[in-house]
């Protein structure tokens, strides 16, 4: 994925795969996951429409509202679905029926269901055996330790809380130390401390060279998990790259800024005349300004404050969060 975030225009999409140098700027490695003009439909329903992207090692977040097509992408990457058109490649290879490739991929599926009658150790050990590991039990215990569930290793999975099940699913995906780890909403049900621990784990694995693709519809999670974001909206790739840079590139959209100051009414009267300002709201101790020209706004605020003799306390963006990026893309 391009280190420079970008909002995708229709014209950009066609030549984009060739133009993207993997995780250029951060990893400069060859792409490990590539979707090239992939569409997927189920009968009349189009789940994915002409989606193309390439990502390399590191953590990449696949973000989008429910029903955007995130799970469809992840299922295509793990061979659970066949593309209706286009090509899907992982580690340079096609995915469908590629058994040797499955040795190099780990999946944390979306669904909560696990084999409830197994203990955690048995569940993870089963994965180790099916991957043909030489010492399955040791590998299972190592993976269980990674997700911090050592004390629960001999407990049955049907006694687990939702968060613990999520970690059990992560352990079975990690047991064979895959090069590519695909996680579908892996933080669901985890408490805040567990979330931080899991995010730290993903980062550690990424530092060791793994490609980690994590889907989420929770913006705060995406923001914490890494800067590389793919945004899916209605089955289309709406944006990709560093989410802050994506935000910077949205020059055609007004930004909302809050200026905490003295004499807000007088300041507002001056700022509303500035080019690019589309809306000003006056509050008792601040004004909120919507501007399409951030640079001009940045110059205008101190100038206006000097003119009216007002003291400035803070100038802060109101829409720098991923949520605002997301809302804009959805709108």
């Amino acid at each position: 994925m391009n280190g420079e975030g970008k909002i995708l225009l229709e014209a950009q999409k066609t030549a984009r795969i060739a133009a993207l140098p993997g995780h250029a700027g951060e990893h400069a490695a060859a792409p490990t996951i590539t979707l090239d003009h992939v569409s997927k439909w189920f009968g009349e329903k189009v789940a994915l429409s002409d989606v193309s992207f390439a990502i390399g090692p590191g953590v990449t977040t696949l973000l989008g509202p429910n029903g955007a097509g995130k799970s469809t992408v992840l299922k295509l990457l793990t061979g659970q679905l066949r593309p209706s058109s286009g090509t899907v490649r992982v580690l340079g290879q096609p995915v469908i029926d590629n058994l040797p490739l499955y040795r190099r991929i780990g999946l944390v599926p979306e669904q909560e269901s696990v084999y409830g009658f197994l203990t955690l150790r048995e569940f993870v050990e089963l994965a180790a055996r099916l991957h043909g590991l030489a010492r399955p039990r040791e590998a299972a215990l190592r993976a269980i330790a990674l997700v911090g569930l050592n004390d629960a290793a001999e407990r049955r999975l049907d006694e687990f809380s939702k968060g613990m099940r999520q970690r059990a699913k992560i352990a079975q995906a990690l047991v064979h130390e895959p090069e590519v780890l695909i996680l579908d909403e892996p933080l669901t049900g985890a408490d805040p401390r567990q979330r931080l621990e899991l995010i730290a784990l993903f980062e550690r694995l990424a530092e060791q060279g793994a490609t980690i693709l994590v889907s989420t519809h929770v913006l705060a999670e995406a923001e914490r998990m890494g800067r590389n974001v793919l945004v899916l909206v209605d089955g289309k790739l709406a944006a990709e790259g560093d989410f802050r840079r994506i935000r910077d590139l949205m020059n055609d959209r007004p930004r909302r800024m809050r200026v905490r100051c003295e004499r807000p009414r007088e300041l507002a009267a001056l700022l509303v005349r500035e080019p690019g300002t589309s809306e000003v709201r006056v509050q008792p101790d601040a004004i909120e300004v919507e501007t399409a020209d951030l640079r001009a706004f940045a110059l205008a605020v101190p100038r206006a404050a000097r003119t009216v003799g007002a003291r400035l306390y803070a100038v802060e963006p109101l829409d720098e969060s991923l949520e605002s990026v997301f809302r804009y893309l959805v709108e």
Partner: protein, 260 residues
């Protein structure tokens, strides 16, 4: 990270197959299916005891073969196989746990074979657990020496074929239990009993042919029951081909299951 595998770098089919077999066995035994199967087994045993009391001076062994022919093979055996086999892959699809098996470097035929091994084994044990008490209740020990092997081999051959068919059904259809029950009641017991042509497409007839072939004594069968029965070799071959075909289709289908 680099994937670490066994010294050969390959997954040993035997080891992976054993793991899935063991998993499937535990899954089949962990539910409440056994209660239903135990009730079916109990039904056969109770009927056998009643017949034993009613037999008086007549040959109770003949009742035993009748019981096998009219209740054990056409009703008990397919229902037991259906209860276990339709769940073997069907529940994995339904509960969406199949991905824990399919996204592994193992071929689909191995998954199907291991699953089949587990459900065929429990079906076999369940039907034998019903037939053995019935055999003793109806004084089977005083019958021909081949009587017990005939019953066990015939029911066993039928169990293997039904397990394969219902395993496939469970993979293909969401309401496999209901559709399987309709198939048993309509085809195996009603239509196949009325039509000789249909009987040739009935597992029950071939399982019964195995019983008769191993027993080697037609005196235990009424003449109308003997008419549609093929020879032992034909019956075994037919059951083997049907089982192999069902498993091959299941393996082919398993790799093409799309998880929506």
């Amino acid at each position: 990270m680099v994937a670490q595998t066994g010294s050969s770098g390959r997954v040993a089919p035997w080891s992976a197959g054993r793991a899935i077999f063991s998993l499937s066995l535990r899954a089949l035994l962990s539910g409440r299916r056994w209660l239903l199967v135990a009730a079916l087994d109990a039904l056969l045993i109770v009927v056998a005891l009643i017949l034993a009391l009613a037999a008086h001076d007549e040959s109770p062994q003949r009742y035993l073969v009748d019981l096998t022919r009219t209740l054990a093979l056409p009703i008990l055996l397919p229902f037991i196989a259906l209860i276990f086999a339709s769940e073997a892959l069907g529940s994995e699809v339904e509960e969406r746990t199949l991905v824990y098996l399919t996204l592994r470097p193992i071929p689909s035929w191995l998954i199907v074979l291991a699953k089949y091994g587990a459900c065929a084994l429990v079906t076999l044990v369940a039907i034998w657990l019903a037939l053995l008490p019935a055999f003793f209740a109806l004084d089977g020990l005083h019958g021909p020496a081949a009587l017990l092997p005939a019953l066990l081999v015939g029911a066993g051959a039928g169990a293997l074929a039904y397990a394969a068919l219902f395993l496939l059904l469970g993979l293909l259809l969401r309401r496999a239990l209901l559709i399987g029950a309709i198939y048993i009641l309509l085809w195996e017991t009603a239509i196949a009993a009325l039509s000789t042509g249909a009987a040739h497409l009935s597992v029950r007839i071939y399982a019964l042919a195995v019983v008769r072939g191993v027993l080697g004594n037609d005196a235990f069968f009424p003449s109308d029951a003997l008419a549609p029965l093929p020879g032992l070799l034909t019956a075994l071959l037919w059951l083997a081909v049907v089982s192999a075909l069902a498993l091959a289709v299941a393996a082919w289908r398993l790799r093409r299951v799309e998880v929506k």
